[in-house]
Protein backbone atom coordinates (compact mmCIF):
# COMPACT_ATOMS: atom_id res chain seq x y z
CA UNK A 1 0.00 0.00 0.00
CA UNK A 2 2.84 2.34 0.82
CA UNK A 3 4.38 1.42 -2.51
CA UNK A 4 1.08 2.31 -4.21
CA UNK A 5 1.04 5.74 -2.56
CA UNK A 6 4.64 6.36 -3.61
CA UNK A 7 3.88 5.36 -7.20
CA UNK A 8 0.93 7.78 -7.28
CA UNK A 9 3.13 10.56 -5.87
CA UNK A 10 5.89 9.83 -8.38
CA UNK A 11 3.41 9.83 -11.26
CA UNK A 12 2.01 13.18 -10.20
CA UNK A 13 5.50 14.59 -9.78
CA UNK A 14 6.41 13.41 -13.26
CA UNK A 15 3.25 14.93 -14.69
CA UNK A 16 4.21 18.17 -12.98
CA UNK A 17 7.54 18.12 -14.77
CA UNK A 18 6.03 17.45 -18.18
CA UNK A 19 3.74 20.43 -18.44
CA UNK A 20 5.36 22.27 -21.33
CA UNK A 21 3.35 22.72 -24.52
CA UNK A 22 5.15 23.78 -27.66
CA UNK A 23 4.38 24.25 -31.30
CA UNK A 24 6.29 22.15 -33.81
CA UNK A 25 9.77 23.52 -34.37
CA UNK A 26 9.02 24.86 -37.87
CA UNK A 27 6.09 26.88 -36.54
CA UNK A 28 8.02 28.15 -33.55
CA UNK A 29 11.01 29.21 -35.56
CA UNK A 30 9.20 30.32 -38.67
CA UNK A 31 7.05 33.28 -39.43
CA UNK A 32 8.12 36.80 -40.23
CA UNK A 33 11.20 38.57 -38.92
CA UNK A 34 11.28 40.44 -35.65
CA UNK A 35 7.99 41.90 -34.55
CA UNK A 36 7.52 45.66 -34.18
CA UNK A 37 7.30 45.27 -30.42
CA UNK A 38 8.45 42.99 -27.63
CA UNK A 39 5.83 43.03 -24.89
CA UNK A 40 6.91 41.54 -21.59
CA UNK A 41 4.08 41.09 -19.11
CA UNK A 42 4.71 40.21 -15.47
CA UNK A 43 1.34 39.57 -13.80
CA UNK A 44 1.50 39.11 -10.05
CA UNK A 45 -1.18 36.72 -8.81
CA UNK A 46 0.23 35.70 -5.43
CA UNK A 47 -2.04 37.85 -3.29
CA UNK A 48 -5.60 39.11 -2.86
CA UNK A 49 -6.74 40.16 -6.32
CA UNK A 50 -10.50 39.69 -6.05
CA UNK A 51 -12.72 42.56 -7.06
CA UNK A 52 -16.27 42.94 -8.33
CA UNK A 53 -17.20 44.55 -11.61
CA UNK A 54 -20.16 46.83 -12.29
CA UNK A 55 -22.46 43.83 -12.64
CA UNK A 56 -21.43 42.50 -9.24
CA UNK A 57 -19.52 39.61 -10.80
CA UNK A 58 -16.41 38.45 -8.97
CA UNK A 59 -13.22 38.99 -10.99
CA UNK A 60 -9.68 37.85 -10.23
CA UNK A 61 -7.63 40.78 -11.50
CA UNK A 62 -4.59 38.68 -12.41
CA UNK A 63 -6.57 36.14 -14.41
CA UNK A 64 -8.48 38.85 -16.23
CA UNK A 65 -5.22 40.60 -17.12
CA UNK A 66 -3.77 37.31 -18.34
CA UNK A 67 -6.76 36.80 -20.64
CA UNK A 68 -6.42 40.33 -21.94
CA UNK A 69 -2.72 39.85 -22.61
CA UNK A 70 -3.43 36.64 -24.51
CA UNK A 71 -6.20 38.39 -26.44
CA UNK A 72 -3.71 41.06 -27.52
CA UNK A 73 -1.61 38.48 -29.29
CA UNK A 74 -4.54 36.44 -30.56
CA UNK A 75 -5.75 39.57 -32.31
CA UNK A 76 -2.61 39.41 -34.44
CA UNK A 77 -0.68 42.19 -32.78
CA UNK A 78 2.60 43.14 -34.39
CA UNK A 79 4.35 42.03 -31.29
CA UNK A 80 6.23 39.15 -29.78
CA UNK A 81 4.63 38.69 -26.38
CA UNK A 82 6.14 37.13 -23.29
CA UNK A 83 3.69 36.68 -20.42
CA UNK A 84 4.69 35.60 -16.92
CA UNK A 85 1.82 34.82 -14.56
CA UNK A 86 3.22 34.57 -11.03
CA UNK A 87 0.95 32.23 -9.06
CA UNK A 88 1.12 31.28 -5.36
CA UNK A 89 3.60 28.59 -4.39
CA UNK A 90 2.06 25.27 -3.46
CA UNK A 91 3.19 21.72 -2.89
CA UNK A 92 1.73 18.34 -3.65
CA UNK A 93 1.42 16.43 -0.37
CA UNK A 94 3.39 19.23 1.25
CA UNK A 95 6.53 17.69 -0.17
CA UNK A 96 6.75 18.22 -3.91
CA UNK A 97 6.76 21.79 -5.21
CA UNK A 98 4.36 22.34 -8.08
CA UNK A 99 5.01 24.43 -11.15
CA UNK A 100 2.11 26.78 -10.50
CA UNK A 101 3.37 29.82 -12.38
CA UNK A 102 3.00 30.01 -16.15
CA UNK A 103 5.05 31.45 -18.98
CA UNK A 104 3.35 32.05 -22.34
CA UNK A 105 5.29 32.97 -25.45
CA UNK A 106 3.38 34.26 -28.46
CA UNK A 107 4.79 35.18 -31.83
CA UNK A 108 2.93 36.33 -34.96
CA UNK A 109 -0.41 35.64 -33.32
CA UNK A 110 0.46 32.07 -32.38
CA UNK A 111 1.20 30.49 -29.04
CA UNK A 112 4.76 29.26 -29.44
CA UNK A 113 5.11 27.80 -25.99
CA UNK A 114 3.38 27.50 -22.64
CA UNK A 115 5.74 26.60 -19.82
CA UNK A 116 4.80 25.96 -16.19
CA UNK A 117 7.54 27.02 -13.84
CA UNK A 118 8.18 26.95 -10.11
CA UNK A 119 6.90 29.84 -8.01
CA UNK A 120 10.32 30.44 -6.50
CA UNK A 121 10.55 34.15 -6.00
CA UNK A 122 13.62 35.68 -4.48
CA UNK A 123 14.87 39.04 -3.36
CA UNK A 124 17.04 39.12 -6.48
CA UNK A 125 14.14 39.96 -8.79
CA UNK A 126 12.76 38.13 -11.81
CA UNK A 127 15.60 35.66 -12.24
CA UNK A 128 13.49 32.74 -13.43
CA UNK A 129 11.37 34.92 -15.68
CA UNK A 130 14.36 36.68 -17.23
CA UNK A 131 16.04 33.32 -17.83
CA UNK A 132 12.99 32.01 -19.67
CA UNK A 133 12.78 35.24 -21.67
CA UNK A 134 16.40 35.26 -22.81
CA UNK A 135 16.27 31.63 -23.87
CA UNK A 136 13.28 32.32 -26.15
CA UNK A 137 13.95 35.81 -27.39
CA UNK A 138 14.16 35.69 -31.16
CA UNK A 139 17.54 36.59 -32.64
CA UNK A 140 17.31 40.11 -33.93
CA UNK A 141 20.53 40.60 -35.88
CA UNK A 142 20.09 40.96 -39.61
CA UNK A 143 16.30 41.28 -39.50
CA UNK A 144 15.87 45.02 -39.73
CA UNK A 145 15.36 47.43 -36.87
CA UNK A 146 15.11 45.87 -33.41
CA UNK A 147 11.66 45.84 -31.85
CA UNK A 148 10.61 48.41 -29.30
CA UNK A 149 10.76 46.73 -25.90
CA UNK A 150 7.89 47.36 -23.51
CA UNK A 151 7.70 46.04 -19.95
CA UNK A 152 4.34 45.82 -18.21
CA UNK A 153 3.87 44.97 -14.53
CA UNK A 154 0.44 44.29 -13.03
CA UNK A 155 0.05 43.92 -9.28
CA UNK A 156 -0.50 45.68 -5.99
CA UNK A 157 1.50 48.74 -4.99
CA UNK A 158 5.19 47.91 -4.95
CA UNK A 159 6.56 49.13 -1.61
CA UNK A 160 9.51 51.50 -1.61
CA UNK A 161 11.32 49.41 1.00
CA UNK A 162 11.02 46.01 2.70
CA UNK A 163 7.84 44.61 1.14
CA UNK A 164 7.56 41.46 3.24
CA UNK A 165 4.15 39.87 2.71
CA UNK A 166 3.81 41.09 -0.88
CA UNK A 167 3.91 37.49 -2.09
CA UNK A 168 1.01 35.91 -0.18
CA UNK A 169 2.43 32.38 -0.23
CA UNK A 170 5.98 33.56 0.49
CA UNK A 171 5.63 36.31 3.09
CA UNK A 172 9.29 36.06 4.05
CA UNK A 173 10.45 36.97 0.55
CA UNK A 174 10.36 40.74 0.12
CA UNK A 175 9.36 42.63 -3.01
CA UNK A 176 10.06 46.33 -3.35
CA UNK A 177 11.13 48.94 -5.90
CA UNK A 178 14.78 48.02 -5.67
CA UNK A 179 13.98 44.36 -6.37
CA UNK A 180 11.75 45.43 -9.27
CA UNK A 181 14.65 47.44 -10.72
CA UNK A 182 16.94 44.41 -10.34
CA UNK A 183 14.34 42.26 -12.06
CA UNK A 184 14.07 44.69 -14.95
CA UNK A 185 17.85 44.75 -15.21
CA UNK A 186 17.81 40.96 -15.56
CA UNK A 187 15.37 41.31 -18.48
CA UNK A 188 17.70 43.99 -19.86
CA UNK A 189 20.57 41.59 -20.18
CA UNK A 190 22.25 42.92 -17.05
CA UNK A 191 22.27 46.50 -18.20
CA UNK A 192 23.18 45.98 -21.86
CA UNK A 193 19.63 46.87 -22.97
CA UNK A 194 16.97 49.33 -21.88
CA UNK A 195 13.22 49.21 -22.11
CA UNK A 196 11.71 51.84 -24.36
CA UNK A 197 8.63 51.98 -22.16
CA UNK A 198 7.65 50.57 -18.78
CA UNK A 199 4.08 50.41 -17.50
CA UNK A 200 3.54 49.87 -13.78
CA UNK A 201 -0.14 49.06 -13.41
CA UNK A 202 -0.17 49.28 -9.64
CA UNK A 203 -1.23 51.71 -6.93
CA UNK A 204 0.84 54.75 -6.04
CA UNK A 205 4.04 53.83 -7.90
CA UNK A 206 3.95 56.88 -10.17
CA UNK A 207 6.44 59.24 -8.61
CA UNK A 208 9.59 61.13 -9.41
CA UNK A 209 11.45 58.75 -7.09
CA UNK A 210 10.30 55.72 -9.08
CA UNK A 211 11.25 57.41 -12.35
CA UNK A 212 14.70 58.21 -10.95
CA UNK A 213 15.18 54.67 -9.67
CA UNK A 214 14.24 53.15 -13.04
CA UNK A 215 16.25 55.69 -15.03
CA UNK A 216 18.85 53.09 -15.95
CA UNK A 217 16.25 50.53 -17.07
CA UNK A 218 13.67 52.44 -19.12
CA UNK A 219 13.30 55.57 -21.21
CA UNK A 220 9.66 56.16 -20.39
CA UNK A 221 7.52 55.20 -17.43
CA UNK A 222 3.74 55.13 -17.11
CA UNK A 223 2.35 54.65 -13.60
CA UNK A 224 -0.33 55.92 -11.26
CA UNK A 225 0.63 58.37 -8.50
CA UNK A 226 -2.50 57.46 -6.58
CA UNK A 227 -4.56 54.33 -5.99
CA UNK A 228 -5.41 52.43 -9.15
CA UNK A 229 -8.44 50.19 -9.40
CA UNK A 230 -7.75 46.48 -9.87
CA UNK A 231 -9.26 46.61 -13.34
CA UNK A 232 -5.81 48.06 -14.10
CA UNK A 233 -4.57 49.93 -17.16
CA UNK A 234 -6.04 48.24 -20.23
CA UNK A 235 -3.39 46.69 -22.45
CA UNK A 236 -5.92 45.97 -25.19
CA UNK A 237 -4.44 49.08 -26.79
CA UNK A 238 -1.62 46.92 -28.16
CA UNK A 239 -3.95 44.79 -30.29
CA UNK A 240 -3.91 47.11 -33.25
CA UNK A 241 -0.67 49.05 -33.10
CA UNK A 242 2.05 48.99 -35.74
CA UNK A 243 5.42 50.66 -35.71
CA UNK A 244 4.47 52.96 -38.59
CA UNK A 245 1.55 54.31 -36.55
CA UNK A 246 3.93 55.43 -33.82
CA UNK A 247 7.37 56.11 -35.29
CA UNK A 248 8.44 57.57 -31.95
CA UNK A 249 7.91 55.57 -28.77
CA UNK A 250 6.85 58.72 -26.95
CA UNK A 251 3.80 59.01 -29.23
CA UNK A 252 2.89 55.42 -28.43
CA UNK A 253 3.30 56.03 -24.70
CA UNK A 254 1.06 59.11 -24.82
CA UNK A 255 -1.59 57.20 -26.77
CA UNK A 256 -1.45 54.22 -24.38
CA UNK A 257 -1.77 56.45 -21.31
CA UNK A 258 -4.74 58.29 -22.84
CA UNK A 259 -6.38 54.98 -23.74
CA UNK A 260 -5.86 53.51 -20.26
CA UNK A 261 -7.14 56.71 -18.65
CA UNK A 262 -10.26 56.74 -20.81
CA UNK A 263 -11.13 53.10 -20.00
CA UNK A 264 -10.66 53.59 -16.25
CA UNK A 265 -12.55 56.89 -16.33
CA UNK A 266 -15.58 55.05 -17.74
CA UNK A 267 -15.27 52.07 -15.40
CA UNK A 268 -14.79 53.42 -11.88
CA UNK A 269 -16.05 56.13 -9.52
CA UNK A 270 -12.77 56.38 -7.64
CA UNK A 271 -10.18 58.98 -8.74
CA UNK A 272 -8.16 58.08 -11.82
CA UNK A 273 -4.61 59.32 -12.17
CA UNK A 274 -2.06 58.23 -14.75
CA UNK A 275 1.33 59.81 -15.26
CA UNK A 276 3.91 59.48 -18.00
CA UNK A 277 7.51 60.23 -17.04
CA UNK A 278 10.41 60.69 -19.40
CA UNK A 279 13.13 59.30 -17.14
CA UNK A 280 15.87 61.12 -19.05
CA UNK A 281 14.41 64.64 -19.02
CA UNK A 282 11.99 64.13 -16.12
CA UNK A 283 9.28 65.73 -18.22
CA UNK A 284 5.86 64.68 -16.98
CA UNK A 285 2.45 64.32 -18.58
CA UNK A 286 -0.51 63.59 -16.37
CA UNK A 287 -4.11 62.57 -16.83
CA UNK A 288 -6.33 63.05 -13.83
CA UNK A 289 -9.99 62.85 -12.95
CA UNK A 290 -11.20 63.28 -9.39
CA UNK A 291 -14.19 61.60 -7.84
CA UNK A 292 -17.66 62.95 -7.09
CA UNK A 293 -17.32 61.15 -3.77
CA UNK A 294 -14.81 60.97 -0.96
CA UNK A 295 -12.15 63.42 0.01
CA UNK A 296 -10.89 65.70 -2.72
CA UNK A 297 -7.51 64.39 -3.80
CA UNK A 298 -4.55 66.30 -5.09
CA UNK A 299 -3.76 66.03 -8.76
CA UNK A 300 -0.06 65.61 -8.08
CA UNK A 301 1.62 64.10 -5.05
CA UNK A 302 2.98 66.61 -2.58
CA UNK A 303 6.44 67.75 -3.50
CA UNK A 304 6.18 66.51 -7.07
CA UNK A 305 7.10 69.86 -8.49
CA UNK A 306 7.17 69.14 -12.20
CA UNK A 307 7.62 71.02 -15.40
CA UNK A 308 5.72 70.24 -18.52
CA UNK A 309 2.59 68.89 -16.92
CA UNK A 310 0.33 68.11 -19.83
CA UNK A 311 -2.84 70.07 -20.29
CA UNK A 312 -4.62 66.76 -20.71
CA UNK A 313 -5.19 66.63 -16.99
CA UNK A 314 -8.84 66.92 -16.02
CA UNK A 315 -9.68 66.01 -19.59
CA UNK A 316 -12.87 64.35 -18.49
CA UNK A 317 -14.24 67.40 -16.74
Amino acid sequence: MVRFALIVAAALLLANCLGTRSLPQEAAGGGPGPADYNLIYVIHGDGGYLYHDGNGDAVQADRKTLQEAIAVERAGAHAEVFIFHQRPRSHFLQLFPLRESRFYHFRAGELVEEVPYFSRRSDAGFLQEAGLYHRRRKAEAGHGPPPQRIFLYFGHEIPAHDGFGYHGSMPDVPFNMKILAQGMEAFNNNGKDRFDLTVLSSCSNGSRETASLLYTQTDLLIASPEELHLSYMDSGFFKAIRAEDFPVIRQLALAFAQHAFHILDQAVHTPVSITLYDTLTMEVHQWYRGSRFGKPSTDLPAGDDVNGVDQARDVSQ
Binding site: G48, Y51, H52, L93, Q94, H156, V268, F293, G294
Partner: protein, 151 residues
Protein backbone atom coordinates in the same frame (compact mmCIF):
# COMPACT_ATOMS: atom_id res chain seq x y z
CA UNK B 1 2.95 -4.26 14.77
CA UNK B 2 2.31 -0.71 13.51
CA UNK B 3 0.41 -0.82 10.20
CA UNK B 4 -0.25 1.98 7.78
CA UNK B 5 -3.55 1.91 5.93
CA UNK B 6 -4.15 3.63 2.59
CA UNK B 7 -7.02 5.72 4.01
CA UNK B 8 -4.67 6.67 6.83
CA UNK B 9 -2.01 7.85 4.40
CA UNK B 10 -4.54 9.81 2.36
CA UNK B 11 -6.00 11.37 5.50
CA UNK B 12 -2.56 12.31 6.80
CA UNK B 13 -1.51 13.98 3.57
CA UNK B 14 -4.82 15.75 3.11
CA UNK B 15 -4.64 17.21 6.60
CA UNK B 16 -0.94 17.96 6.32
CA UNK B 17 -1.06 19.65 2.92
CA UNK B 18 -4.43 21.21 3.65
CA UNK B 19 -3.18 23.01 6.71
CA UNK B 20 -0.19 24.37 4.78
CA UNK B 21 -2.38 25.65 1.99
CA UNK B 22 -4.74 27.16 4.54
CA UNK B 23 -1.83 29.04 6.11
CA UNK B 24 -1.03 30.64 2.77
CA UNK B 25 -4.60 31.45 1.87
CA UNK B 26 -6.26 32.42 5.13
CA UNK B 27 -5.66 36.15 4.98
CA UNK B 28 -6.78 36.39 1.37
CA UNK B 29 -9.85 34.27 2.03
CA UNK B 30 -10.78 36.43 5.02
CA UNK B 31 -10.39 39.58 2.93
CA UNK B 32 -12.50 37.99 0.19
CA UNK B 33 -15.30 37.35 2.69
CA UNK B 34 -15.39 41.06 3.50
CA UNK B 35 -15.40 41.90 -0.22
CA UNK B 36 -18.29 39.48 -0.81
CA UNK B 37 -20.23 41.13 2.02
CA UNK B 38 -19.76 44.57 0.46
CA UNK B 39 -20.75 43.22 -2.94
CA UNK B 40 -23.95 41.85 -1.40
CA UNK B 41 -24.71 45.28 0.04
CA UNK B 42 -24.16 46.97 -3.34
CA UNK B 43 -26.52 44.44 -4.88
CA UNK B 44 -29.17 45.14 -2.21
CA UNK B 45 -28.88 48.89 -2.74
CA UNK B 46 -29.39 48.50 -6.48
CA UNK B 47 -32.36 46.17 -6.01
CA UNK B 48 -34.51 48.72 -4.25
CA UNK B 49 -35.82 51.84 -5.92
CA UNK B 50 -36.56 53.68 -2.70
CA UNK B 51 -33.77 56.18 -1.86
CA UNK B 52 -34.61 56.08 1.86
CA UNK B 53 -34.24 52.31 1.87
CA UNK B 54 -30.99 52.51 -0.12
CA UNK B 55 -29.62 54.97 2.43
CA UNK B 56 -30.71 52.73 5.29
CA UNK B 57 -29.06 49.64 3.77
CA UNK B 58 -25.82 51.55 3.27
CA UNK B 59 -25.90 53.06 6.74
CA UNK B 60 -26.52 49.74 8.47
CA UNK B 61 -23.83 47.94 6.52
CA UNK B 62 -21.25 50.65 7.21
CA UNK B 63 -22.10 50.41 10.92
CA UNK B 64 -21.78 46.62 10.75
CA UNK B 65 -18.36 46.85 9.11
CA UNK B 66 -17.10 49.31 11.73
CA UNK B 67 -18.46 47.15 14.52
CA UNK B 68 -16.81 43.99 13.18
CA UNK B 69 -13.45 45.72 12.86
CA UNK B 70 -13.53 47.43 16.24
CA UNK B 71 -14.52 44.19 18.00
CA UNK B 72 -11.42 42.38 16.75
CA UNK B 73 -9.20 43.79 19.48
CA UNK B 74 -11.52 42.40 22.16
CA UNK B 75 -10.73 38.87 20.96
CA UNK B 76 -7.02 39.14 20.25
CA UNK B 77 -4.02 41.22 21.20
CA UNK B 78 -3.26 43.16 18.05
CA UNK B 79 0.19 44.16 16.93
CA UNK B 80 0.85 47.85 16.50
CA UNK B 81 0.71 47.53 12.71
CA UNK B 82 -2.58 45.63 12.86
CA UNK B 83 -4.09 48.20 15.19
CA UNK B 84 -3.05 51.08 12.94
CA UNK B 85 -4.43 49.36 9.87
CA UNK B 86 -7.73 48.52 11.55
CA UNK B 87 -8.04 52.10 12.87
CA UNK B 88 -7.34 53.48 9.41
CA UNK B 89 -9.98 51.24 7.87
CA UNK B 90 -12.56 52.16 10.53
CA UNK B 91 -11.88 55.89 9.98
CA UNK B 92 -12.24 55.39 6.25
CA UNK B 93 -15.61 53.68 6.67
CA UNK B 94 -16.80 56.30 9.18
CA UNK B 95 -16.03 59.05 6.67
CA UNK B 96 -18.11 57.26 4.07
CA UNK B 97 -20.97 57.17 6.56
CA UNK B 98 -20.49 60.91 7.18
CA UNK B 99 -20.66 61.53 3.47
CA UNK B 100 -23.81 59.42 3.15
CA UNK B 101 -25.53 61.65 5.70
CA UNK B 102 -23.79 64.93 4.93
CA UNK B 103 -22.06 65.16 8.31
CA UNK B 104 -18.67 66.51 9.42
CA UNK B 105 -18.15 68.81 6.45
CA UNK B 106 -19.26 66.40 3.72
CA UNK B 107 -22.03 67.21 1.27
CA UNK B 108 -24.87 64.73 1.58
CA UNK B 109 -24.93 62.16 -1.19
CA UNK B 110 -27.95 62.86 -3.38
CA UNK B 111 -30.82 60.39 -3.69
CA UNK B 112 -30.05 59.82 -7.36
CA UNK B 113 -26.39 59.10 -6.61
CA UNK B 114 -26.79 56.31 -4.08
CA UNK B 115 -26.18 53.45 -6.53
CA UNK B 116 -22.98 55.12 -7.74
CA UNK B 117 -21.97 55.87 -4.15
CA UNK B 118 -22.35 52.21 -3.21
CA UNK B 119 -20.10 51.27 -6.14
CA UNK B 120 -17.62 53.94 -5.08
CA UNK B 121 -17.46 52.42 -1.58
CA UNK B 122 -16.88 48.99 -3.06
CA UNK B 123 -14.20 50.13 -5.51
CA UNK B 124 -12.43 52.23 -2.91
CA UNK B 125 -12.25 49.37 -0.40
CA UNK B 126 -11.33 46.74 -2.98
CA UNK B 127 -8.56 48.58 -4.76
CA UNK B 128 -6.28 49.02 -1.77
CA UNK B 129 -4.47 45.90 -0.69
CA UNK B 130 -4.65 45.94 3.08
CA UNK B 131 -3.80 42.29 3.65
CA UNK B 132 -0.07 42.97 3.41
CA UNK B 133 -0.17 44.66 6.77
CA UNK B 134 -2.96 42.74 8.48
CA UNK B 135 -2.02 39.47 10.16
CA UNK B 136 -3.85 36.22 9.51
CA UNK B 137 -5.43 36.19 12.96
CA UNK B 138 -6.75 39.72 12.66
CA UNK B 139 -8.13 39.24 9.17
CA UNK B 140 -9.82 35.98 10.12
CA UNK B 141 -11.36 37.49 13.23
CA UNK B 142 -12.67 40.50 11.33
CA UNK B 143 -14.28 38.26 8.71
CA UNK B 144 -15.71 35.89 11.31
CA UNK B 145 -17.22 38.69 13.41
CA UNK B 146 -18.62 40.29 10.27
CA UNK B 147 -20.31 37.06 9.27
CA UNK B 148 -21.73 36.65 12.79
CA UNK B 149 -23.07 40.19 13.01
CA UNK B 150 -24.43 40.28 9.47
CA UNK B 151 -26.16 36.90 9.58
Amino acid sequence: MFRISVPGIIYFFLVFSGSALAQADQTIQAENEIKKYINHIVHQVKLTGDPAEKRLILDESLVTLQEALTRVHTFAALTGADQRNINSLVTDIREKQDELHGANGYSRVGDSELNDFSEFIQQDLEQANRTITISVTTALLAALILVLIAS
